[in-house]
């Protein structure tokens, strides 16, 4: 006889478990007294303390069991209101609670193909916690970092956008209107959405005044404000220039690179600055300057391919086929696994995710 398929076995297993649970569990469950609201609130308090002081993994697992309980949200709201903690500790406890909910929901969103169902029990309390913390101190360093962390997470799951209820960008901009990191994150969001937009399938720069460039215009405006807030912020400036190139505004891009701040000791940022400047010079018809910029990028990253592709394309367009072939061969013959800064750049704020998470954990874990 043929072995049943994996899917058939999965279905059979699920049906068997469901039957067993429906037969065995009800009398057993009926025998258990239902936890009271204060007991549930204590349970959540314990999970948050576990997250703060011991095991993040165990706290996340425990929360998964907690959030599916009928009165978990009510219990969480009771827990918010427990007045016995000194105020400073209470705030850290609430911050840790927000982190626990954020990490738990984030893991589901990250791992599941269709996260809406499994993630939904976490959403109301996460929103409640953010609001409660905002009421306590709307421009606290913790909230600033959390907004940036949550935005970076949103960029990681851009193909499965978070529901609008979990969009805190407007809150971040209201609380930190002149913060260059927050403004850059906002600009980066719209740049990223443009990158993945269906109408941008060809990745060509927009012709002047083209329709459907609203995402790019919003990106440009936030990034312009980010650069104005901190002219030395190299990533904000890089993204500003890149968006201007996408909008075909070469004059504005030229102005934005004509500053001593268009350089960075960070090799990733320095590589991208040279790459973008090469593109700018090429589109301005200054091929010698473009070659210099691409060469400068190549010198900064031995394994990066984007600058080599750009340089080879320039040679090819100018009719130097042999040179183009040589550059391509040099660039694609290695089996390196090193990341090209360009590939990371196009994922928006994702590259900051780990840093934000680390900082937030440090703030709440004692």
């Amino acid at each position: 006889m043929r072995e049943p398929s994996l899917a058939a076995r999965q279905i059979w297993r699920t049906v068997t478990i469901a039957l067993a649970v429906s037969v065995v569990l009800p009398p057993f469950a009926a025998a258990q007294p239902e936890p009271t609201l204060p007991e549930l609130a204590d349970r959540l308090d314990g999970l948050v303390r576990l997250y703060r002081t011991e095991s993040i993994e165990r706290a996340v697992d425990g929360l998964a069991e907690f959030v599916v309980l009928k009165r978990s949200r009510a219990a969480a709201q009771r827990w918010f209101s427990v007045p016995e903690h000194p105020s400073a500790d209470r705030r850290v406890q609430l911050e840790a609670g927000l982190m626990l909910y954020s990490e738990s929901l984030g893991r589901i969103w990250w791992n599941e193909l269709h996260p809406y169902g499994p993630a939904s029990p976490y959403i109301p309390t996460l929103i409640d916690l953010e609001e409660r913390l905002r009421d306590l101190d709307r421009d606290s360093p913790f909230l600033r970092n959390w907004y940036l962390y949550w935005e970076a997470f949103g960029h990681a799951v851009v193909s499965r956008p978070l529901p609008s209820a979990l969009d805190f960008l407007d809150e971040a901009l209201r609380a930190f209107p002149d913060d260059s990191d927050v403004l850059m994150a906002a600009g980066s969001r719209f740049e990223l959405r443009w990158w993945f937009a269906d109408e941008n399938g060809h990745r060509d720069p927009r012709p002047s005044g083209a329709a459907n460039d609203g995402l790019l215009v919003r990106a440009r405006d936030y990034l312009r404000r980010g650069v104005a807030a901190d002219p030395t912020h190299i990533e904000a400036r890089l993204r500003f220039v890149r968006v201007l190139l996408e909008l075909n505004d070469l004059d504005a891009a030229s102005q934005a690179v004509a500053t001593p701040h268009w350089s960075s000791p960070d090799p990733t940022m320095a590589y991208l600055a040279s790459l973008f400047e090469g593109e700018l010079r090429q589109r301005q018809g200054n091929y010698e300057a473009a070659v210099r910029s691409y060469e400068s990028a190549i010198a900064k990253s031995a394994q990066a391919q984007s600058a080599r592709v750009a340089r080879a394309h320039l040679e090819h367009a100018m009719g130097s086929r042999a040179d183009a072939a040589a550059i391509v061969i040099e660039g694609v013959s290695s089996a390196s696994t090193e990341n090209d800064p360009w590939w990371v750049y196009v994922r928006g704020q994702l590259w900051h995710f780990d840093g934000h998470l680390r900082r937030l954990r440090l703030m709440v874990r004692r």
Binding site: L6, A7, Q10, W110, N111, E112, L113, V158, S159, F196, D198, E199, N200, G201, H202, R203, D204, P205, L275, Q305, S306, V309, A310, A312, H313, H316, A317, G319, R321, A324, A325, I327, V328, I329, G331, V332, S333, S334, A335, S336, T337, D340, W342, W343, V346
Partner: protein, 306 residues
């Protein structure tokens, strides 16, 4: 006429420096046009120069040579190995490559370039089948999709020799990581004589149950070919005189690859020396049949890059 010379000069159109004349003279350059002639879907064989009419920028040209199934092939296999190809599709891809390698004959050569976000040239053009087989076996799937960059790299690898350049491109998704834009790649394709055949698989990745997929592939944007991506692939094939074959990920690639190669072998290579046309710039080419019915598919023109 020696075809080696024709191949070396084709589309580079090398002429004596400081030439004063704005028009091509005889004996300065040979242009080679790869053309598929079909009656419906079936390739037509047995045609000679007398059966073709070729115009360069509207000017009727004298055809000096027509070759059919005689010239060796230079096949640039440019294969998408992004995360969405992981599993069964990758096995299909390797099987297709293996079948293709088995059919190489005589002076045929192949190169293998794979791409995810990173491009990797596993082997340059070679007739060494063992080397090609071991290169194809070693391929792994991971990462996002730098489709445009990979196509450009494949075009740039074209070597100036007598072999007929074919790019066999396989992809199951839209671009997510390239530096170059689609227009730049189309322009580059127009500047070469590489014929691009594309096997575009519509991935069912979004429909697969999660437990059959790895974590890395779950993180990828579902790689369904969207309208813009399809349009780009059709534009690319059209610009180079090639063709797009849309398939689903379950269809064995072996048969598609072999059919594609078979069709490519049964194309004509038409050579002519441009006469009475202005040198430089874009030259539109129009190839038609004379005295019989059928469809001709060839590149739309070439760039004289002097």
């Amino acid at each position: 006429m020696k075809l080696v010379a024709a191949g070396a000069l084709a589309f580079t159109l090398i002429v004596a420096p400081a030439a004063q004349t704005p028009r091509f003279r005889s004996n300065v350059a040979v242009v080679r046009v790869d053309a598929l002639v079909t009656d419906g879907r079936r390739p037509i064989g047995g045609l000679t120069a007398a059966n073709f009419e070729l115009r360069d920028n509207g000017v009727l040209q004298k055809i000096v040579d027509v070759h059919f199934e005689t010239l060796p092939l230079n096949i640039f296999c440019v294969l998408d190995v992004s995360a969405s190809v992981e599993g069964h599709p990758l096995l299909q891809l390797k099987d297709g490559m293996s079948a293709l390698i088995d059919t190489l004959t005589g002076g045929d050569r192949a190169a293998l370039l794979t791409f995810s976000n990173r491009l990797q040239l596993h082997t340059r053009l070679t007739g060494d089948r063992d080397r090609l087989r071991s290169a194809a076996k070693a391929v792994k799937a991971t990462g996002s999709t730098a489709l445009f960059d990979a196509i450009f790299a494949g075009l740039a690898l074209r070597e100036a020799d007598e072999g007929r350049p074919l790019m066999l491109l396989f992809s199951d998704g839209k671009d997510t990581a390239s530096w170059l834009s689609a227009s730049k790649v189309i322009d580059a394709a127009r500047r070469t004589d590489v014929v691009v055949y594309i096997v575009a698989a519509r991935s069912a990745v979004a429909l697969q149950p999660p437990w059959t997929r790895s974590l890395s592939s779950r993180l990828q944007r579902p790689s369904l070919i969207e309208r813009a991506a399809e349009h780009f692939l059709e534009e690319l094939a059209d610009a180079t005189g090639g063709r797009v074959v849309f398939t689903d990920i379950e269809t064995p690639l072996r048969e598609i690859f072999l059919d594609t190669l078979d069709e490519f072998r049964r194309r004509y290579v038409i050579s002519y020396q441009p006469t009475d046309v202005a040198a430089g710039g874009w030259h539109a080419i129009d190839v038609r049949l004379r005295g019989r019915s059928g469809q001709v598919k060839a590149r739309r023109g070439y760039a004289d890059s002097r």
